[in-house]
């Protein structure tokens, strides 16, 4: 299995508050990693640092290029914009661009970052929308869609450039319960298609079913990690047992 992402000793503080205190993590191709932990444990910050939306205070982030060679993307000389186009990111809060149609949202990175011709980009965008089951909404504006549909468009937008890695930051937390299912089904579908995913999530049942590897973040460090069968049935640390208490019972 080839490595897609490797984190070594990632540290990040906001002012004097440490958020990440030395995170090591390896993600292999086609793997789905679930990052779990209490609110404020650093899950979102971790994903944002990987996508270079936050600068880190220490450590290194390695991302595989097309040939599979790891490149240090935490180097300030790395081309951040080009790297972000190689990593898909879906946010917790729906943030499609409200002034652009669904199709324009989905094709923005292929057209403006990869500079693919409009017709080609739109044909591919329609294919993508078809994959997420929203081909008939291509000309609609985001505000006319339900929360679940918007989040599926956001996922389509994030994978439009065929990124090596997809980061999902609690993508169902802002949705009504009856809309969560359709978004999680889409993530399952992406996994079956071989997408490499790192997702921060509060959906424990979903993490248990879908993740290949679960990372429990506790106070800015990896408290425990392992296959879901272990973490969700017999956590070794007392902190993980405490956090998963309600779910385990």
């Amino acid at each position: 299995m080839s490595e897609v992402l490797r984190l070594e000793g990632i540290r990040k503080s906001y002012g004097v508050t440490p958020v990440l205190r030395g995170i090591d993590l390896t993600v292999n191709r086609h793997e789905v990693i679930a990052v779990i932990g209490a609110s404020g444990s650093g899950k979102s910050t971790l994903l944002r640092t990987i996508n270079l939306l936050e600068t880190i205070d220490d450590g290194q982030i390695w991302l595989a290029d097309a040939a599979g060679t790891l490149e240090d993307i935490s180097d300030p000389r790395a081309k951040a914009d080009a790297i972000r186009a190689r990593i898909g990111f879906v946010f917790q809060h729906l943030n499609l661009f409200p002034h652009l149609s669904v199709l324009d949202n989905v094709t923005i990175s292929t057209r403006h970052v990869q500079r693919i011709r409009r017709q080609v980009a739109e044909a591919r965008g329609l294919e993508l929308l078809d994959r997420v089951g929203l081909a008939d909404k291509a000309r609609e504006f985001p505000d006319r869609l339900s929360g679940g549909q918007q989040q599926r468009v956001a996922i389509a937008r994030a994978i439009a450039t065929d990124p090596e890695l997809l980061l999902l930051d609690e993508i169902t937390s802002a949705l009504d319960p009856q809309l969560v299912g359709e978004v999680l089904d889409l993530v399952r579908q992406l996994k079956s298609e071989g997408t490499t995913i790192v997702m921060a999530t509060h959906e424990m049942a979903f993490a248990r079913d879908v993740a290949d590897h679960v990372v429990f973040l506790d106070n800015g460090v990896v408290g425990e990690q392992g296959p879901p069968t272990e973490i969700f049935t017999a956590p070794r640390t007392s902190r993980a047992r405490e956090f998963l208490g309600r779910f385990l019972a």
Partner: protein, 287 residues
């Protein structure tokens, strides 16, 4: 669909429609009546003031009105030209200034500082002073050798200097009012700062500040009348010339009417345009 064609409104719904119709009729009649009453009161009050006949003769003389139309209208074309040039140059310079002020990082400090200083200076200086400085300062720079720069160019420069400062502030406020998550989302897709601005933030910003921008535009439509201080024969200057010959102020009323006629379509268009954008992006509601 067959249900839809077979459907006939119930008697309850028909009753409700009748009530709405009669209420609608009644409000129109009340509105019409009160407007007429108000107009009549104002008219009677003004007409019965002691100086009315003198004022009427000096400001609303029909003969002078008709006579002054050709010259004032010809001058007004100059105002329109200056307005046309200024709209383009203000849009470009205002956008550039707003963009400069959004740049981050120490490298851009000089540009940011320059843009900030510029907006402070020209928002603080009265337009008429800028007009004098540009209108008489720039030609003086040429010494005695240069050719004559037309007043419409000098006027355009002065109006651009002042209005781009206002417009850039409106645009900047618009850009800053777009939620930061939109910028993050744009950057996460790999768009550069400039692309995020151009494709994501500025279009949303402009929509939000369209009413404010149009307000500046209407204000600019009137202020192009100030170029008369540069000696160009625009609508105001033409009116002044006729007044000097006829000792009647009616030409000013003609010029004023032309400026109002110019402004009204802009104002109506803005209202219509913003309503349309809102309707397209949001599922509507009646309240």
């Amino acid at each position: 669909m067959s249900d839809e064609t077979a459907w006939q409104p119930s008697s309850i719904e028909l009753g409700r429609r009748a009530v709405r119709r009669s209420r609608g009729m009644r409000s129109i009649l009340i509105g019409l009546g009160s407007t007429l009453l108000f107009a009549a009161i104002v008219w009677i009050t003004v007409v019965n003031t002691p100086g009315w006949s003198a004022v009427q003769k000096a400001f609303f003389d029909p003969e002078t009105f008709v006579e002054s139309i050709p010259l004032v209208a010809k001058g007004f074309l100059l105002n329109l030209r200056v307005l046309g040039y200024s709209v383009v140059s203000v849009a470009i310079l205002g956008m550039l200034l707003a963009f400069l002020r959004t740049l981050r990082g120490p490298v851009f400090f000089p540009l940011r500082a320059l843009a900030t200083g510029y907006t402070d200076l020209f928002r603080g200086t009265p337009l008429i002073i800028v007009l004098y400085l540009v209108g008489f300062g720039i030609p003086a720079l040429q010494g005695r050798t240069g050719s004559v720069i037309p007043a419409e160019i000098l006027g355009t420069i002065a109006i651009t200097l002042t209005y781009s400062a206002y417009v850039s502030e409106v645009l900047r406020a618009g850009i800053e009012s777009v939620h930061p998550s939109q910028r993050l989302a744009a950057r996460s897709l790999g768009l550069s700062h400039a692309q995020s601005m151009r494709i994501v933030l500025i279009p949303q910003a402009i929509r939000r500040v369209t009413p404010a921008l149009m307000n500046d535009f209407v204000s600019m439509q009137k202020d192009v009348g100030l170029i008369s201080v540069l000696g160009a024969v625009d609508a105001v200057r033409a009116a002044q010339i006729i007044k000097a010959q006829s000792f009647n102020f009616t030409p000013y009323v003609v010029a004023g009417l032309l400026f109002v006629l110019l402004a009204i379509p802009t104002i109506r268009f803005t209202d219509w345009y913003t309503a349309r954008l809102r309707a397209r992006e949001q599922a509507g509601s009646i309240v």
